[in-house]
């Protein structure tokens, strides 16, 4: 049985939620699998992430989200987190008065905070006592968020563009983090626009107009994505395969 199953999920926005964002999307992740999602902006990747995490306002109009076969459509975020799902948002929020040390110790942390910081390329000596507030750069905050997710030891980590805001010399750190999740047995749903990040995954899927256009070996999906996507199809309609 897959760890995560997303079955024919429909989700819309606007008046009466009639503007479709996800149009019957289905996806499955196995235990410990790193699965990359590729797709142009606005195709529904982050919406899917929010639906799986159970963020406020994100409930499928129809379809199912299951973890270990159990339907979780109606569970609130913290109950999903207790089942082992967690998420690093594309733009992590800042917190006043909370040190990195305290932040990494929140919740059901399983790992050593200092070790997690080192894994994301930050020195524990320099960062453990710094506040997770607006004094951090975007890249620093992003790394701390990744370290905090790593410290939780989740069964499923949803990483929404973990590489955005990270300088190009440090992309290798992001790759190390994703490898660390895999080594720890966590499954990762990885949203990225970088081919070098996507291709370290076990599998990849291309999202287009709220559906999975194709899935398979990351290199093949990346090639398919570059050749055929929402931009190239021209009419706003994809050629589904």
């Amino acid at each position: 049985m897959p760890l995560l199953e997303v079955n024919n999920v429909v989700y819309g926005v606007g008046p009466d939620k009639k503007t479709p964002i996800l149009a019957g999307l289905s996806l499955a992740l196995e235990q410990g699998e790193v699965h990359a999602l590729l797709g142009t902006n606005g195709t529904g990747k982050s919406t899917l992430a929010n639906l799986i995490m159970g963020c406020e306002g994100y409930r499928p109009a129809s379809g199912e989200i299951r973890l270990d076969g159990t339907l979780i459509n109606k569970l609130p975020i913290h109950e999903r987190a207790c089942l082992g799902i967690t998420m690093a948002w594309q733009e992590p929020v800042r917190f006043e008065g909370i040190t990195t040390r305290d932040y990494l110790a929140l919740g059901r942390h399983h790992a050593d905070p200092a070790a997690c910081l080192s894994l994301v390329g930050l020195s524990p000596d320099l960062y453990l006592d710094r506040m997770v507030d607006k004094c951090l750069s975007g890249g620093e905050r992003k790394r701390i968020e990744l370290a905090s997710i790593l410290a939780l030891g989740p069964r499923l980590a949803i990483l929404d563009e973990p590489d955005s805001g990270i300088d190009m010399l440090s992309i290798q750190d992001v790759i190390h983090v994703i490898s660390a999740f895999k080594k720890n047995g966590s499954a990762v749903l990885l949203i990225t626009h970088r081919e070098e990040i996507a291709t370290i995954s076990d599998r990849a899927s291309q999202v287009c107009h709220g559906k999975i256009l194709c899935s398979g070996i990351p290199e093949n999906v990346a090639q398919h994505y570059k050749a055929q996507n929402c931009r190239t199809c021209g009419k706003g309609e994809c050629h589904y395969v």
């Binding site: 406020e56 609130p76 913290h78 987190a81 998420m87 948002w89 909370i98 929140l106 919740g107 059901r108």
Partner: protein, 311 residues
Amino acid sequence: MSELTDLMQAFGEAGGDRGALADSGTAHLSVSNNSIVSSRLVPGIDVQARELRNGVSAKVTVREGVKLEKPVHLCFGVLHKKGTQRIKMDVTLEKNSSATFIAHCIFPNAEKVRHLMDATVDINEGAEMRYSETHYHGLFGGIEVIPKLKVKVRENGRYYTDFTLTTGRVGKLGIDYAVEAGKNTVVELAARVFGHANDAIVIKEKVVLAGENARGLIKARVAIEDDATAEIRGITEGNAPGARGHVDCMEIVKDRAVAKAIPMVQVNNPLAKVTHEAAIGSVDKRQMETLMAHGLSPEEAVDVIVKGILK
């Protein structure tokens, strides 16, 4: 038990450092109602204190060039259920001196207590003062605290103060601070208050950046719940070239509580700049979701966020 013993016990329970009061190298002044129950001086600081009918008057001077290594501890308390305590305090830091003051104001049993402070602070050229004041008002809310403070910071002086009332009830609080900042000075005023039940909080802090290149920051963090109310007025005037000021106010509101923030900025010199930011509302949704994604319940997440902003 004696008044001193009672006060010291309450001081310790309110988070005060009793060891510091016992330390022969640390200056302190402890006042219970209108009685000076304990005091100590160290070289470089003069304190002339006298008891009044319902309080204490104290004149504190840090001598020129003296840099006190250890903080001066102040402890003001009313341990009875009822009473009025007036504190009249005049503090002078002479030229190039520096001192840190840590004050604890303790009213653990207050059912009908008034604590009125009327203070002036004169920071002379090149001097630096840090003043940290922590209050504990008990659980009954029967207290009114009205601290009034006027500060003058002269050339190259520095003044930092923070007021904390985050444990127990607030009762009625009416802070009224005004600071005049001279040339090349730095002023920071911070307040953190957590109101519950029908607590009523009014914080008025004003910084006049009168001298060239004066710097001022007013920072207020207030959380209120139940039927509590809060009004924060952060006022900054930029009156001289190069003056820079900022007012930063954040209030978190729960239940039926009502909050107002009135940042007022005024610039009377084209080369001065004053900015402000104010945020009032319930706990930030994205912060909540982030913490809940770490496995915290909604209640735990609110608690972490509120404690963080009040830290």
